[in-house]
Symmetry: C2
Subunit: 690 residues, 2 copies
Amino acid sequence: MKRLFLLLLCLTPCWAALGDEGMWLFNQVPRQLLHERYQFDATEAWLNHVLKASIRLNSGGSGSFISRDGLLISNHHVGANALQQLSSEKKNYLKDGFYARTRDQEIRCLDMELLVLQSIEDVTTRVNAAVPADADPAAAFAARRKIIATIENESLAQTGLRSDVVTLWQGGAYHLYRYKRYTDVRLVFAPEQQMAFYGGDPDNFEFPRYDLDICLFRAYENGQPAHIADYLRVSPEGPRDGNLVLVSGHPGRTSRLLTEAELESVRDVALPFRLKYLKWEETMLDAWSARSEENARRAKQMSSSVKNNRKRGDGQLAGLLNPAVMADKDKEESAFKARLANRPQFADALAAYDKIAAAARILDQQFIEYNLIEAGQGFNCESFRFARTLLRAGQERPKPNGERLREYSDAGRATLELALMSEKPIYVDFETITLADSLTFLACQLSTDDPLVQRVLAGKTPGVRAAELIHGTKVRDIDFRRQLYVGGAEVVDAMRDPMTELARAVDSEARALRKTFDEQNEVKSQAHAALARAQLALDGNAGYPDATFTLRLAFGTVEGIQALGTELPPFTTFSGLYRKVEQMKERPPFDLTPRWVRRKGSVNMETPLNFISTADIIGGNSGSPVVDRAGDFVGIIFDSNLQALPWDYAYSDVQGRATSVDSAGILEALEHIYRAQPLVREMVIGKASP
Amino acid sequence: MKRLFLLLLCLTPCWAALGDEGMWLFNQVPRQLLHERYQFDATEAWLNHVLKASIRLNSGGSGSFISRDGLLISNHHVGANALQQLSSEKKNYLKDGFYARTRDQEIRCLDMELLVLQSIEDVTTRVNAAVPADADPAAAFAARRKIIATIENESLAQTGLRSDVVTLWQGGAYHLYRYKRYTDVRLVFAPEQQMAFYGGDPDNFEFPRYDLDICLFRAYENGQPAHIADYLRVSPEGPRDGNLVLVSGHPGRTSRLLTEAELESVRDVALPFRLKYLKWEETMLDAWSARSEENARRAKQMSSSVKNNRKRGDGQLAGLLNPAVMADKDKEESAFKARLANRPQFADALAAYDKIAAAARILDQQFIEYNLIEAGQGFNCESFRFARTLLRAGQERPKPNGERLREYSDAGRATLELALMSEKPIYVDFETITLADSLTFLACQLSTDDPLVQRVLAGKTPGVRAAELIHGTKVRDIDFRRQLYVGGAEVVDAMRDPMTELARAVDSEARALRKTFDEQNEVKSQAHAALARAQLALDGNAGYPDATFTLRLAFGTVEGIQALGTELPPFTTFSGLYRKVEQMKERPPFDLTPRWVRRKGSVNMETPLNFISTADIIGGNSGSPVVDRAGDFVGIIFDSNLQALPWDYAYSDVQGRATSVDSAGILEALEHIYRAQPLVREMVIGKASP
């Protein structure tokens, strides 16, 4: 970490250098720039092929098809949820890995959903036309929600494809994305988590790195492997130092177009609260995991995710606590305001800043309560999430589609039902401990005298109350959930399950927070739209919008880093891994699994394992294919370095890098360590052996 | 943890049952009660002998002399600081243990101080007489500070003994304690930390338990082993189930006499903040420790202490979030108020409740700032602590003794100088990481716009600022510290060391917080004194005061627990330890050191290792001797169970227990595992072999 602090020092003066910045919309790819800088022509055919080979996973990451027969690759940490759900005390796929040598050994995942983009349509005019210019925030929000639901529903009915209207440029544009869905997804291969996440939390967001962070699945349709026209060919060589690489994936969220006022909210309200919550949770998860191996297994997924988010949050906060970052934002904003001043046609854009600031302050004031009560952090357990969904599904579904909370709209119904009817294992002891811990946090944040806290705790300690709720609820029973979901509000009300009653007990506060949240975001949307229009009018093409967990194209160069006077090359190799194991004396998390020790002699030590590039990525890009000019798969994104954590707010390639597993390393490990020859063959020739 | 929640349920109805409650003053031992309940006569001679054999250690624990030749025993976790300070990257006494087979192998500790109580004198009348009845809080505080300093100074001059005026009953009484000091303390024996703290954080505050939590030192005077007239004979058998045991030690702090208003502050302000801070720190320490073995070694002591305090804090908060606890306090308070009502002679006692509540609210409002800025949690590193002491010593020492901040009074001078001139190793990387992390926490708590935060960070990120301060300061150099300390304010000012300048930059805020803190505590003291007087007038003997890290006598019975329908016996044995190791498959922290594996065959498996009793203890009692009727050492306190964590607020023996290492187990391990025959002989016959 000390290194991070020193490096941030150097970062500042170059903050304005953009280099390979950009998470571009597939329908607005900067072709001229790519041509000029890289002599690369992104043809329609190239783009369309890569787009259709790209996958969004509902566990929050990206992936790509790599064979005609439905084989797809993502990160181990993206597939980890599925692995955890398939595991039990006897069979730990997360820890031990998995390989289906034959088709019938492939195991169906419990609630995995793949979305594959088919088309993009700009519906901005239609959305904005439906919102009266003089509507107040509540009316404007309702009108916008309604037209969006209508567009989505029409599209679903017409095409049968999942249809999402995506808000871009914080409200500057609305695009309709249509996806093909796959829900029969089967596990084909996973390495041991220790090898996928070699170096653990200490090496997370670091480079050099030596991780085989991959997981292979197969998409099925009608009980047969899906036939995939657009899949990526896997390059046996991977990329070279200095090569152009392109990344097609789903960056989750960036905050680069936020105004200074919004960035201050992130720095002063959102990140401090999020970090306190994460560190509170992490302590509990670590303490509980230490008590037994089975505890550790049950907590593993949540624990990894919390640690990852905590390390990312620490990095982001360190970035925002750098006054130079705020000063740059301030300078940029002042300069743009000066250009808008005294030009009546931009009056709305000039006024936008104050509107955004006012909305941000309102959201700040309810930020903690919103997260605890509406986002559910105060009731952290699967049982509460089920109960809340059942309660609200009963309330929302009778309403017209356009008037429902967004997650209950017809367009999202299939996805919601998949999650609600998941057969994933849920553990009573783990549910109790996470609920007790978050109820304690809730009481600490809101004070024990708060009427909501008193209602929630019902005169008991958090631990006693959590045990009572978890033991009393039936929502972990899938048949019970189906009964409540199908029966709707009447059945939910009649059953009086303790957990749906808890959700009900906080529902009026939760909905009030949600209402303010939605309305103030509508205010911000309209203001950002005005800013986006002004930017377009003044500077032409407005670049790329902030990330929205939708498909984007990034590009960059395979390139090392200058660190403390020495040049760090962009590739690591298997020999580097084995050297590190020795240096760290095999102390966990720097140890190897027995298979990697045993097969050391079979490996070509100079094969590249991981590499870094300047491509502009962020969380959600995990599992994104890295492709070359030919559109071939040369690697898979799995991380960035610490210096790229502030990319949430501003890109810089001075020290920031995206980290990938090299395709050559993947094939080397599969062939010589896992002896998965049929898989290697399928990946190289693009179809399964008959 | 689930067990804790269930057990707390049962705790409630019996909250009022006192059993063996009491941390009694040695000059107010409940002899009649001891006689009636246990047919035990605590004679003057018995008390005086045990008192003079008892030791307070400046690392925050207790101990006792166990040989005529200065040998003393405390807990490993009390001595751990000394072990850490004597260790280096090459020699890790904390991890590997230590045994001086001969006198000249004993290693002098760097800044250990032992205090042995010699006498107690009631000075309440003199203290109160010096405080004018009509003085406002500031004047009353100043007057009280002055008379206390005068009494301490007179006593020091007359007797040469360290003299502390101790505030008892929250201000109800003032006693003068005189101590003999030993500062030449040498390490004799320590087991490996893994065996002293077997089961680590998961088993901390749990029972059954299997820890050899001991550490042996020898006190020297004039270069020779100190000659100790009053030492405890070590019992080779330890106690039996059902035996009376007595504990002579230094409980740190309890809050049993707090009013309801004060208890609410603890529940709603103090504990939530403390836990957020501890969990924030723990996450950083764990992440840093995971990076390398040497990091882990450097962070070990702080890390253990943070984990211990976090687990204790979680337990205390769970206790206070039990509404029954507050309801009992409320009932008790209402009943007492009813007895005071309409009786003019108790008007001041009746008014005391509101005064305390008002003072508590003022202290609540500045609680977070006080802890961050005056208590220094926002600047967490040794360098800052040195710098603050140097700055303030320069400012305070020229003032009259009675007007200084208490820690700079003449009575405390020797202790302050011992700590300030300590040669303990300090690590630049660890200093930087702890300072950076706490500066980040400071910014998160007070907001980046706070003028103090801006002054502290000086336009840099916490990481950059921490690195600059730690690399820039010279206070880690003992000669530099001596120069500044001897030179006083003029030299401190002239040197402009970056860390003393940081301390200076926050000093006016820090002193203002301290002033309010001292004044409001004076208000509370006077109010509590009125309550104590009323209690005494109404009920005679007022029991025992809350713990103040001064010598107390507790007593209880060796007794198992009824848990979930089965009877848990009070003793564990070596065979239980080896069984647990097997059950847990030697997974850390449930593994053994090689020595314990190797010597398994030599051990008498049925020897008791740990035992529990109903004696009333709290943090600070760690290392207290457990003695029998004869005054012989039969064990050493090292922990309590989770159910005893709420003892901070109210004692209950329904499930709460104190945990000790059995003297028989200590001798068994020393003889058969560590093969320390000369030590065993010295402990059994009470003097070293010639």
